[in-house]
């Protein structure tokens, strides 16, 4: 599947971000810039809403914020890592700095894309995958790693 779920431009490393609000702001900006979505406020609200239901923070600094909206054009995986660790209410109680953001259009229910997105969350369970992602210093490496799981 020659998908456009992810590309190197969707990956921003070592960002200067200090709070959840700032992170969502950055996600929304990136999504607009990359023509993934059309409404910035929508994305921020969607991500916040999901976060309020239960944390998306996982462990070892990983979190997977996600939302499903009408104003998202195509399913996408964005990656943002931050210089500082952010409080994310994670399962292991540690702050997060590695964010894999899943943006999903509302009408994509049941599509294969959803499975691809789920595959990304699944692979985080394996500590060696988390290691590899953490140790990647280049967007292209992360891209390659994620691409392998998605396909």
């Amino acid at each position: 599947m020659g998908n456009n779920l992810i590309n190197e431009n969707y990956i921003k490393l070592e960002q200067d971000i200090h709070s959840q609000d700032e992170l969502f702001e950055a996600v929304a900006n990136l999504a607009i810039e990359q023509n993934i979505a059309t409404n910035k406020a929508d994305i921020i609200a969607g991500l916040k809403k999901r976060e309020s239901e239960s944390t998306t923070g996982f462990q070892d600094g990983f979190a997977i914020p996600h939302t499903q909206l009408n104003t998202i054009a195509h399913p996408s995986i964005l990656v943002i890592t931050t210089k500082n660790e952010l409080e994310w209410n994670s399962m292991d109680g540690k702050p997060a700095n590695f964010f894999i953001v899943l943006l999903i259009p509302k009408d994509q229910a049941g599509s294969t894309h959803i499975q691809a997105l789920s595959a990304v969350s699944k692979m985080l369970i394996h500590s060696n995958n988390r290691e590899s992602l953490k140790n990647s210093t280049k967007a292209s490496d992360i891209y390659q790693l994620l691409q392998d799981f998605v396909n």
Partner: protein
Amino acid sequence: MSKVKIIAATGCPTGIAHTFMAEEALKVAAKNLGVDIKVETHGQVGVENELTKQDIIEADGVILAADKDVNPSRFQGKPTIQVSVAKGIHEAEKLIQQIIDGKATVYKAKKSDVSNNDEDENATSGKNKFLHSIYTHLMNGVSHMLPFVVGGGVLIAISFLFGIHSADPEHSSYNEFAALLKNVGGLGFSLMVPVLAAFIADSIAKRPGMVVGFIGGLIANDGGAGFLGGIAAGFIAGYIIVLLMKLLEGMPKSLNGLKSIFLYPVIGIFLIGVIMTLLVEPMTAINEGMKTFLGNFQDSNPIVLGLIVGAMSAFDMGGPVNKAAYVTGTALLGEGNYFFMAGVSAACITPPLITAFATVFFKKHFNQAERNAGGVNFILGATHITEGAIPFAAKNPIVVIPILMIGSSISAILTYMMKVQVPAPHGGFLVLPVVTGAFQWVFAILVGSLVGAFLYGYYKKRANNK
């Protein structure tokens, strides 16, 4: 000892990330601990890798890691651990270890359950498996019957708005559309008992049971045996097939097709036909007997009469006993006795209202389907459509019917004490303009309904807290 087998169900609100993370985490943990696991996921794409009945039977334990309804009642009686999806992800090994160590508690529904599943109430532990299986079968019948009751009942109620006699071509208020509503609504009602029986049997013996149950239910319905007759038909039909399956076990596998398409339906329908025909035969006699019995009390004091009329009307809601009261009422109307019918009507209106009020006042002890049906029962009760209470009663007849009988009796007693006169045989509150003592009548019915509602709600509360 064979390998420990664990089954699990995972789910989260969006169904995209955590559902599958929990699945993966549990699988990894199972592998590490050397146990078998099968994980059902309730994700965005629907339920995947669904657990079969066989899986559930064979499993040594169940892990439910979900923040949404994963239909937990299936696991009734199994050692089960219920946690949030987050714990499923983060503490997968710990959860599996708990199952291995036998530390999981046997699944019993709690009122804190997020589940909306009907079967949650009245949970019983492993020691009570038989009773529980009966309950599960009943529930399957009731949940399939419910839409027929609601759909049919509401259409009939709407037809009354055109006038109580609007469906009668002989009557001056005849309206074609009202007649259509009443007819199709009536069809819904006539399928109520067959569907109840069919799906009780379906729960016991799958499709072959369903077929036989349907026929049994039809006979019960036509024979005037009411919903209690339908329940009996459903169980008999189911166990007929179970028995046939046992008897035909020795047949070669190659004849399996013949069994399900020929032998089960032919023999099954024949047997249920014979049994149910014998069973409904005394119904007429019961009906007649009850009428005579009631006739003796016609002039007794209001308390005794109300007690009897109330208890009879709410006993089988459409069965021979209820009909005896109703028919006696209409016969007496013909003789110009408007007092008797007032009590019968009050007693018929009360059961649906009891369930309606109970679902309002004890909201959290009823699931969503029950609350919706309860709302509809305000309409059905107000229009004298007693059947609305059947889905509630059929879930646990032994407890619920007496409660309905108490409520109905109170309504009828008060009605008789206040000498209300109702000259119409049907229509409920729609006939209020012609009722003598309309205010007292509504008051009597409300009192009976509220008392019943509190008894019923209290029972549900206790059942759910058990």
